[in-house]
């Protein structure tokens, strides 16, 4: 009988030592539409995690969830961490915003004898990305890092940063003459997430600031 009591005590000890899963999610606030992300969790004491991305798309089971958000909007990502055998679980949700990256404004640095700068973004091959902005303020002068020429891109224009190939060019305009200052075929914005994105021409530097919209 004494031995049986010890066995029961040992069993209770083992059961009490077993820790419950703790779900934890620390996602960024904003995610870009179309970009492939690998979402990670900070959960503990779990056997596996289920991921619900707050869309009608597929869920995922695993420690890290590769996912691409296809639509704009606010999404609620929910993870549920399960214990061994999946008899205990803990769930946590986080609201995130899925949006596109659009050009906010540009800084142009260089010695300019032009009246206007013109920024072309995109080609006809990617029609939804076509953009051509002529900054109306005077572009004449010396623009430094500290005092660059700031080209505002209006909210109504919404030049979206693509995830695929796009061409970008900066031209200087004086009267009817147009001089190319920077031409760059941006191979991939997919892996370029710095803000600003910097492009260097021969005598000019373009800093492209973007925002989520």
């Amino acid at each position: 009988m004494k031995r049986l009591n010890y066995l029961i005590l040992l069993g209770l000890l083992i059961v009490s030592c077993k820790q419950n899963p703790k779900a934890c999610l620390e996602l960024d606030e904003k995610y870009e539409v179309g970009r492939e992300y690998t979402l990670t969790s900070c959960s503990e004491n779990y056997e596996f995690i289920t991921w619900d991305f707050g869309t009608d798309q597929n869920g995922f089971i695993g420690d890290e969830a590769p996912h691409t958000f296809q639509d704009k909007g606010r999404k609620t990502v929910t993870i549920e961490a399960y214990s061994r055998g999946a008899y205990n679980s803990d769930a946590v949700s986080q609201s995130i915003r899925v949006a596109n990256r659009v050009i906010d404004y540009v800084d142009i640095i260089g010695e300019s004898n032009f009246n206007q700068f013109e920024l072309s973004f995109g080609t006809q091959e990617i029609p939804f990305l076509v953009g051509n902005i002529t900054f109306q303020n005077s572009a004449l002068g010396t623009f430094t890092e500290e005092a660059p020429f700031v080209g505002e891109v209006g909210n109504e224009i919404r030049l979206q940063l693509p995830l695929d190939r796009v061409s970008l060019s900066l031209n200087g305009k004086r009267g009817s003459n147009t001089s190319p200052l920077i031409y760059q075929e941006v191979k991939n914005f997919r892996f370029n997430t710095s803000n600003p994105v910097v492009y260097n021409g021969t005598d000019f530097t373009l800093k492209l600031y973007w925002k989520f919209d």
Binding site: E47, F48, T50, D52, Q57, N58, G59, I61, Y82, R84, G85, A86, Y87
Partner: protein
């Protein structure tokens, strides 16, 4: 002279033939039997030479009733004697009691032991399998709710889990019930006494006994010699 010799030989042969009869015993029902003819115990054989006439025959074999019969040889030189031994009522009762004892022993000791052993041995494996299957069930339910797997896959997963779950409960209940029965029935099982069968050889007055050995689960034969 020669003809006189032939006559003497013929007369002597006839005299022997008329005096004794060779009897072959055919006894059914006993492996090793003892024969007593006219109160005299005979050697362990099945061929006897007896004088012609009527003889009282007694045959006994362990576990059988003593056979008593009469042997009529007539004028035959040789004859056969057929006898069938019948089991003694005490031995029949012993066999019946042994069956009852074995059955009681099985239900009181062997069956709980086997149930506990098999269930306890299976329980860890079934528990691990149940854990795995439940994880699979939860995961597949998650995927099924998002239309990532077919209903056939989901049904199959549920079926597999139900089978393992049933096995788990059967093993768990078997372990508990089996071990509880084993301990609860142990006093009763210990009180069970194996039946014994003891019989005296009426010819040699030896005692032979038969009992049931619980360890080897088979009858045990004993012999008590009387000097």
């Amino acid at each position: 002279m020669k003809s006189l010799l032939y006559l003497l030989l013929l007369v002597s042969i006839n005299t022997v033939a008329q005096d004794s009869t060779k009897v072959r015993f055919f006894v059914k029902g006993g492996e090793k039997y003892f024969v007593r003819i006219d109160g005299e115990i005979q050697p362990q054989t099945n061929i006897f030479h007896v004088s012609q006439g009527t003889h009282e025959v007694e045959i006994w074999s362990f576990k059988q009733r003593t056979y008593k019969g009469t042997l009529e040889t007539g004028n035959l030189d040789s004859t056969n004697f057929f006898a069938e031994l019948l089991p003694s009522p005490e031995y029949v009762a012993y066999v019946r009691n042994t069956d009852t004892y074995k059955r009681k022993l099985f239900f009181a000791k062997t069956a709980p032991f086997i149930i506990t052993g098999v269930s306890a041995a299976a329980l860890p494996f079934v528990t691990v399998r149940r854990f795995n299957k439940h994880e699979e069930l939860v995961q597949n339910q998650f995927l099924f709710d998002r239309q990532q797997i077919t209903s056939e896959t989901m049904d199959n997963t549920k079926l597999q889990y139900n089978v393992v779950n049933t096995l788990f409960y059967v093993s768990a209940i078997g372990t508990v019930v089996g071990s509880a029965s084993f301990f609860l029935l142990r006093p009763y099982a210990n009180k069970l006494m194996p039946p014994t069968f003891k019989q005296q050889n009426p010819f040699t007055l030896e005692y032979m006994n038969l009992t049931f050995n619980q360890q080897i689960q088979s009858p045990e034969f004993g012999l008590t010699l009387s000097f």
